[in-house]
């Protein structure tokens, strides 16, 4: 194939769908589109053919910054021993209600 290097492909977009009002948007996959408007329409055709959604977000993949798995220990492990953030850490007598 010729001119492989200078061909301009449609960029990749990450697609987030709200499945119904009251729920958050959730990542469902990716697709290619020339611009944001087209990405939304493509997402509608690709990811909501079976009534899966009421709202769509699209983000061009290159604009997503992700945490690195190498840092995951320092990022997430420190939360492991902070048991005082959970209600079961606190002892109350059974007679106390509604708390």
């Amino acid at each position: 194939m010729t001119e492989k290097s200078n061909k301009k492909n449609w960029p990749l977009w990450e697609i987030f769908i709200r499945s119904k009002n009251g729920l958050s948007h959730k990542h469902v996959g990716s697709l290619h589109a020339a611009d944001a408007e087209m990405a939304i329409e493509n997402a509608r055709d690709v990811y909501t053919r079976r009534n899966e959604g009421v709202s769509i977000w699209v983000v061009e993949s290159r604009y997503i910054t992700a945490s690195s798995p190498n840092q995951s220990e320092s990022l997430f492990d420190p939360a492991d021993d902070k048991v005082y953030r959970h209600p079961t850490f606190y002892n109350l007598p059974d007679e106390v209600k509604h708390i």
Partner: protein
């Protein structure tokens, strides 16, 4: 191997053994990445090439109900190809490059799609047998070790659930219809049975990728295990239709609790895989043509997007200056 690399490999295998999913940015052995890109892209190519034999009959579907069902099914295959290319792209592959590899004959796709669809019953047979075989494989893959691949498969399996029923219902109508229709169904089974068994790939003893893929839990069942499972569920379905599986050696084995079946013609399998099947050339020509004739469309859409985004930037700047 240097000790650091060895430690990483061991850690990786430990994660796999502990049933942890591997995600895109995690460390993974190059060979794992390469195997996945190869397998996922082959899978994606199969979905897309697979649109062609069935697409053949969209314009000739015998009722409007059948037409919309088939159209929706073939459309789903396009969607599945798309989800799978997306999964491959999380591994750093580029869809366009993968497609080029297909078109240049460097990448493979399922050999089943190199067989022709000659009658309406073939559409039934594809849904029943080909999708049936694919589902066996895909259900297993919903538990594959690579997260994005597993998630794509979950979505695909959910959507596939109507495909096999669609095919079986077509055959059911034929088998309950006139003699000519039943004949059509039998003829389709005769032609599609063996190629469907071949879909599970070479026998375990000849499959070069199986052992490593099992260790990495990319695959969780061997080709022969899946093939046996397929035969066991499909034969009673053929009996129900009242058509005969074209294998004189097919027999229920009380002792093993499985069907025994005849030897697959592996020579035919390897011929078709290496490009000599009845429709290999047409299928590739059709894909290449679609891609080449679409080039100006893709290019123009990109050019317009850039033009418009520049225009909007200019307008925004002008607005700031006015303010």
């Amino acid at each position: 191997m240097d000790p650091k690399q060895k430690a990483l490999l061991e850690q990786f295998q430990a994660r796999i053994d502990a049933e942890e999913k591997i995600e895109p940015k995690d460390w993974m052995p190059d060979e794992y990445r390469k195997t996945l890109i190869r397998q996922i892209s082959q899978h994606a190519h199969s979905e897309v090439v697979g649109m062609l034999p069935e697409g053949n009959w969209i314009s000739r579907a015998p009722s409007l109900r059948r037409k919309v069902a088939l159209l929706a099914k073939v459309q789903d295959e396009a969607g599945h190809g798309l989800y799978l290319y997306g999964a491959a792209e999380t591994l750093g592959a580029d869809r366009e490059d993968l497609i080029d590899e297909l078109h240049e004959g460097k990448a493979k796709y399922s050999s089943i799609f190199n067989y022709p669809t000659l009658s309406w019953a073939d559409i039934g047979a594809i849904g029943w047998l080909v999708d049936g075989a694919a589902i066996m494989n895909q259900v297993m893959l919903t538990r594959t070790s690579y997260g994005p691949y597993a998630r794509a498969m979950v979505r695909i399996c959910k959507e596939e659930s109507f495909h096999q029923r669609q095919g079986y219902e077509i055959l059911l109508a034929l088998c309950r219809g006139a003699e000519a229709q039943k004949q059509m169904a039998q003829d389709a089974l005769n032609r599609w049975w063996w190629p469907s068994l071949m879909m599970f790939g070479p026998s375990d003893k000849d499959s070069k990728h199986t052992a490593q893929s099992m260790r990495w839990k990319i695959k969780r069942k061997t080709n022969d295990e899946l093939r046996q499972q397929f035969v066991d569920v499909t034969v009673p379905q053929a009996d129900f239709l009242g058509i005969e599986v074209p294998d004189p050696a097919l027999k229920w084995n009380e002792e093993s609790g499985h069907y025994d079946f005849g030897e697959i013609n592996w020579d035919e399998f390897w011929q078709v895989v290496s490009g000599n099947g009845p429709c290999n050339r047409q299928r590739m020509e059709a894909r290449v043509k679609a891609h080449q004739e679409g080039a100006w469309v893709r290019e123009a859409a990109m050019a317009y997007a850039e033009k418009r985004s520049k225009r909007r930037e200019r307008e925004a700047k002008a607005a700031i200056q006015v303010a």
